[in-house]
């Protein structure tokens, strides 16, 4: 018995070694190497799986068209397992061992902050593709998701006109939530509205009754709700069940980014307003071919999330910059990106802002319907990442490495 166990263990080890050598032997030397780290397992895979799928789809489409600079692109991918420490570890491995030319990685702000100093030191261009609280400013880092100020500037303006000037905020208790809440207050003041109160919820909280009572006590015209992950969709169910949806509006910058509209029941999801840089239901010329491609590869049982479009855009923007630079060299690619690269994405035209490394792009305001989907209410064309453009100019100050907070 013991010997047999030992035998299978040996066989397994041999298989692993074989797989590793095959993996490393698979590419030719002149291939361009793209590194990827996403959360394929663990609690964050609600986002990470689609980010990875989008990356492979984008690379395949570029390879089918002849690759970059005539070379095929190879993807070397690691699963961060929703574990922050893995991001540091794999970033180092990908750069030192695999010698990648560019890195696409991360969902949470903490993962980006873990990666940022490493790519800065090792000089590898890095793309972060998720909506976030905004303000990251670093020579090596390029951001293709929308920032909080980009989304909230249009959303708060719209909601104040639609519902009225009294606002209550429900947000997760970490930097995305607290900084977003600050932006809500900033834009509330700008549009003549008032924030009556805010409740920050740790991610492990399942008891939403106190928050719902405080909302009733404050009696706002609308609630800004920023539930993170699928667990916090329980808040939306309980909000609807308490009958609050008839009395006030509910808007969000991240509802839908993890397909929360699929999890909530039609009664709870109907009427929730969200604003993001991409929704599957938008009407853009490039969205249809993008979706067709996606459906062919992965099916559409799960709607495509905004982070997937962000990754798709990021890969294409990087590839365009490589073509302009004529090389995958770090300095040349960054110079090309800072020359201003635009791309026709599934969500319309997007352009890399030279100074801030953030994307100028459309923001869509949508409303949840009873079919676990969204109807587009309004499109804001080509919205500038105003806060990032204001505080972050990496052409004038290339040594900046900061996470600006308002």
């Amino acid at each position: 018995m013991r010997d047999r166990l030992k035998g299978t263990r040996m066989a397994r080890a041999a298989a692993v070694v074989l797989a590793l050598t095959m993996a490393t032997g698979a590419w030719a030397d002149d291939d361009v190497k793209v590194g990827a780290i996403f959360d394929l397992t663990g609690g964050l895979n609600i986002y990470g799986i689609q980010q990875s799928q989008a990356l492979h789809l984008a690379v395949d489409s570029i390879n089918a068209g002849g690759g970059v600079l005539g070379n095929q692109i190879t993807v070397i991918e690691n699963d961060a397992q929703s574990d922050l420490a893995k991001y540091t570890q794999y970033t180092n491995t990908l750069i030192l061992r695999d010698q990648i030319d560019v890195l696409f990685a991360g969902l949470t702000s903490s993962s980006r902050e873990a990666i940022r100093p490493i790519v800065r030191q090792k000089k590898v261009p890095y793309f972060y593709s998720a909506l976030y609280e905004g303000g990251a400013c670093d020579k090596q880092t390029f951001i293709t998701g929308a920032s909080a100020s980009q989304q909230l500037s249009v959303l708060i303006d719209w909601a104040v006109k639609e519902y009225g000037p009294r606002i209550y905020i429900m947000a997760p208790d970490y930097n995305f939530g607290t900084i977003s809440a600050h932006w809500v207050e900033y834009y509330a003041e700008q549009f003549g509205a008032e924030v009556l109160g805010a409740d920050f919820l740790p991610l492990t909280v399942t008891d939403y009754s106190p928050t719902i009572q405080k909302i009733q006590g404050a009696n706002p015209d609308f609630v800004v709700a920023l539930p993170v992950g699928a667990n916090q969709t329980g808040f939306l169910e309980q909000f609807a069940a308490a009958g609050l949806k008839d009395k006030m509006g509910i808007v969000s910058t991240n509802y839908g980014s993890g397909n929360q509209q699929v999890v909530v029941s039609p009664d709870a999801g109907e009427g929730i307003v969200a604003s993001q840089e991409y929704f599957m239901w938008i009407d853009e010329p490039n969205n249809e071919p993008f979706m067709a491609r996606w459906e062919e590869a992965y099916g559409l049982d799960e709607p495509i999330i905004s982070e997937a479009a962000d990754v798709w855009n990021a890969v294409h923007i990087w590839a365009a910059a490589v073509e302009i630079a004529g090389s995958t060299d770090n300095d040349a690619v960054i110079a090309a990106l800072e020359g201003g690269v635009s791309f026709e994405g599934p969500n319309g035209t997007v352009s890399m802002q030279p100074g801030s490394h953030h994307l100028r792009q459309n923001i869509y305001i949508v409303r949840g319907n009873r079919e676990h989907a969204f109807d587009v209410i309004q499109k804001f064309e080509y919205v500038v990442p105003s806060f990032e453009d204001e505080v972050c100019d990496l052409i004038a100050n290339p040594d900046t490495a900061e996470h600006f907070v308002p």
Binding site: F200, Q216, G258, S265
Partner: protein
């Protein structure tokens, strides 16, 4: 402070405590009667939630789906006990490791089978008005569920043959074995009961807490703390500790902030364990 607000806070803190109790009691039974710490308890809750979800979506009425989820999760628990737990009795650390591994397997299986998002059941859109405030009827209904559940368990463990035998087997295994009690079968039954209760929790809470692969994690931390604070008198201890911690935390969250509510929950647990290192029920005369 208006009276209607006070009344709402009181009722909703009771419902919060009930949610905690419903999610905890299965863990408490397994720990109290078997000395096994089941780190996969949260994933058993998730298991029950998905069984109920799929039953409902295939046309089974919700109450029946809850029963089905409890039974299926109990059966699954029995299999787990026979296949894994049984071999690790008396080895607390090994049990911890094995059940933790099981929780990872269950979590990832759920992702592979159901994907990361699945349409939920939704709560009944009915609510009760108290002055300027409204409370969801379903959350109030959960108070009743918790009371009935605890009552039934008390009856099961004190008034039935199984209950007496199960408690005998844990209080004095040798004497129990001498008079012919087969502890192996009793343990399987007890673990199945604990699992079934977790399945029941996942199912009954499903309308308010949608099924996701990671849902267990959200419940399990506070459930563990409640069991630790409860101490040796399994059922009454858990009712007192879980009820007190849950409602104090919820009230704090209502009057201050949700973060404060969490802080108070942890502080209260620490305080209880400072004063009663073996749990709140360490010196009680009650046996259950």
């Amino acid at each position: 402070m208006e009276l209607d607000y006070l009344a709402t806070v009181l009722l909703s803190s009771l419902s919060s405590a009930s949610v905690l109790l419903i999610a905890t009691v299965g863990l408490a039974i397994v720990f109290g009667l078997m000395g096994v710490i089941n780190l996969a308890h949260g994933e058993f809750i998730m298991f029950g939630a998905y069984v109920a979800l799929f039953a409902t979506r295939n046309g089974v009425p919700f109450p029946l789906a809850v029963v089905l989820a409890s039974v299926v999760t109990a059966l699954f628990g029995a299999i787990v006990e026979r296949a894994i737990i049984r071999h690790l009795y008396g080895r607390i650390l090994d049990t911890l490791l094995a059940t933790w591994g099981l929780s990872l397997v269950l979590y990832q299986s759920a992702v592979l089978i159901f994907g990361t998002v699945t349409p939920g059941v939704g709560m009944p859109q009915s609510n009760i008005e108290i002055g300027n405030y409204t409370l969801s009827t379903y959350l109030l209904f959960l108070i009743l569920v918790a009371v009935v559940l605890i009552g039934l368990l008390y009856w099961l463990l004190t008034r039935t043959g199984y209950g007496i035998v199960a408690r005998a087997a844990i209080q004095d295994p040798q004497t129990a074995a001498t008079i012919g009690i087969e502890s192996g079968r009793i343990n399987t039954a007890t673990f199945a009961l604990g699992s079934g209760l977790a399945g029941f929790a996942g199912a009954i809470l499903l309308p308010a807490f949608p099924a996701t692969p990671s849902m267990g994690f959200a419940f399990v931390i506070k459930a563990f703390l409640a069991v630790v604070a409860a101490g040796p008198v399994t059922l009454s201890g858990t009712v007192v500790a879980g009820g007190a911690l849950g409602s104090i935390a919820s009230m704090t969250a209502s009057f201050y902030t949700t973060v404060m509510g969490d802080v108070v929950f942890f502080l209260a647990t620490i305080t209880i364990l400072r004063i009663f290192p073996l749990g709140i029920s360490a010196r009680w005369r009650l046996k259950l």
